[in-house]
């Protein structure tokens, strides 16, 4: 019996959330008095998981699984669960993982609790705290099945170093027994830029920007901070920015360390979606904007004056602090 964690990689390199879920798995294993096995696909850096408490890495070497395929990945993870007799499976909250998680749950007849924000309340019974009602509340969810699947919320637990002796073994992928002729045709993805899902900083703007032509300064601010750009629902509905940037209750959730909201009044749906961010900064010319009540820091002022000043100030700051 061990805890199995699925660590995501991209072109052989682990994604940031891989170390977070490995750390989470390590915390669960400690509570249960067992060890952590990781499963990864075509990674070139399996050993690095030893830094986060993983003692065994099963690296699936399979040319048919070089790019993400929900059915094939779920089948291989299910095989690994069986071969290691794992009772707890730890996953991330990435879009890909949320695609495969229900398939895995069905294959293993396992209860799945997504969006978990801290180490389990207890492991017998197995109880986890997760966000519910789109971040307006939390549920303490008990998983009653023999095998339990936990999806860890982005940036909720953090990566914790815990050096462990690690072995890496190569395995082959499992065939997906289910009907599955869904195939990737084309991926259209921004490279070399932070995404809303894994960025430490997110710069978000709303209708206060008056039009899509004014987004240059938002992108410049994001560039300086190494941040992802996001927007409010009206902005995406108006077509000023792509849907993928819409954050909020019906858009993407944000759980960054720093969330900067520019010209966003702060409708309840938006506040829910970004509430998991650790520090929230609001720039708005209306001192009565509801967002100020949900923010940590703010500036009351015209975005068209404040943002350019902030860009200049941060350029100096970055020059001094590297």
């Amino acid at each position: 019996m061990s805890v199995l964690v699925y660590t995501e990689s991209e072109q052989g390199k682990f994604k940031k959330n891989a170390f977070e879920v490995a750390s989470y798995a390590s915390a669960v294993a400690k509570m249960m008095g067992t060890t952590v096995t990781a499963i990864a696909f075509n990674t070139t850096e399996g050993e690095s998981l030893g830094e986060y408490g993983v003692s065994k890495v099963m690296n699936v070497k399979d040319s048919s699984l070089e790019t993400f395929n929900a059915g094939g990945f779920a089948a291989s993870i299910a095989e690994a669960v069986k071969s290691t007799d794992a009772k707890v499976v730890i996953l991330s909250s990435s879009t890909d993982t949320k695609y495969l998680a229900p398939l895995l749950a069905a294959k293993l007849s396992a209860g799945y609790a997504p969006n978990v924000v801290q180490a389990p309340d207890s492991t017998a019974p197995f109880m986890v705290k997760r966000t519910a009602f789109s971040n307006k509340g939390f549920a303490h969810t008990q998983i009653d099945t023999d095998i339990k699947i936990v999806g860890v919320s982005n940036n909720a637990f953090g990566a914790h170093e815990n050096k462990t002796e690690v072995s890496v073994e190569e395995i082959s992928g499992a065939a997906d027994a289910a009907t599955n002729d869904t195939k990737s045709v084309e991926i259209d993805k921004v490279v070399g830029k932070a995404t809303i899902a894994d960025a430490d900083i997110v710069v978000s703007a709303g209708r206060g920007m008056k039009g899509p032509e004014n987004w240059g300064m938002i992108e410049e601010l994001a560039d300086i901070l190494g941040a992802a750009t996001a927007c409010s629902k009206p902005v995406s509905d108006l077509g000023w920015r792509p849907h993928g940037e819409h954050v909020g209750q019906t858009g993407k959730p944000v759980a960054s360390n720093l969330y900067i909201a520019i010209g966003i009044s702060g409708a309840i749906q938006h506040l829910a979606g970004v509430s998991a961010s650790k520090t929230k900064v609001v720039i708005n010319n209306d001192p009565e904007a509801p967002f100020f009540k949900a923010a940590d820091y703010g500036i009351v002022g015209d975005a068209f004056e404040v943002v350019p000043q902030l860009i200049e100030k941060l350029k100096d700051f970055k020059a001094q602090n590297g």
Binding site: Y112, F133, N257
Partner: protein
């Protein structure tokens, strides 16, 4: 083409969330219930298939009699027939098992559910349903075209999108993008009148595994007072020295 849209009955997005019975239950007092937004994008796309490609559209909801107004709204938008599985939804796994029975008996080519419900956020019903019925599955779907048996779809990925090919029968986890916000329909009087006459059958639940149980709820701790900075210099200083985020 025969389509089933799975509809969840959820609190309106503007709802304030409270809990009752010693924080063990969601407090429905004064809460307006609506079609789950992710499901409504799917339903609206299904209407497009009905109008342009002659599809038949059924809906299914797991829940007690209180969910019927939401189901009637879906019928008023244009769904042809409805099935209510008469049991309180407890967890995503058991909801998927109930819906799987409807799918198996109905011979559907396409099943659309929301990527997640905005209340319990399980995000697992469409995927588990696809597995239980041995159908293809595409999650976070933002574009869906069907030509005969062939499916071309786009799904959202972190930082972009992915175009996929697939085939019917298919289960889709839908969201905004399947149709635009401006494509959503408000039922008109004729639709509402017609919806009253449409068939809404009540099915008894099958035995299902209950995989998880929400034992207790709580709300986020109240936020402290915002600190207003007088200048960008002060803001950057606070973010660097106090919040330590830059």
């Amino acid at each position: 083409m025969k389509i089933l849209v799975c509809i969840s009955n959820v609190p309106d997005t503007t709802s304030k969330i409270n809990f009752t019975d010693g924080d063990t239950k969601f407090d429905t007092n004064g809460v307006q219930f609506v079609i789950n937004p992710n499901d409504e994008f799917g339903l609206t796309r299904a209407m497009w298939f009905k109008e342009k490609q002659g599809a038949t559209v059924h809906i299914a909801t797991v829940g007690g009699p209180t969910v019927e107004p939401t189901m009637r709204k879906a019928l008023a938008i244009g769904a042809d027939e409805a099935f209510r599985i008469n049991t309180e939804p407890t967890d995503g796994f058991s909801v998927a098992q109930q819906l799987a029975e409807v799918v198996k008996n109905g011979g559907y080519d396409l099943v659309i559910g929301g990527r997640e419900s905005i209340d319990y956020n399980g995000g697992m019903v469409p995927g588990i349903l696809a597995s239980l019925t041995n159908m293809n599955f595409i999650n976070s779907c933002i574009s869906l075209e069907i030509d005969g048996n062939n499916v071309t779809a786009v799904r959202e990925i972190d930082g972009g999108k992915e175009k996929l090919s697939s085939s019917l029968p298919l289960v889709v986890g839908g969201q905004k993008g399947l149709v635009e916000e401006s494509d959503l329909r408000i039922p008109n009087m004729r639709g509402i009148m017609m919806a009253r006459k449409k068939s809404l059958s009540v099915l008894e639940p099958v035995e299902a595994i209950k995989a998880t149980e929400d034992k207790k709820f709580d709300k986020p701790a109240p936020k402290g007072q915002v600190k207003l900075a007088d200048s960008v210099d002060q803001l950057v200083d606070l973010l660097h020295n106090e919040a330590k985020v830059i």
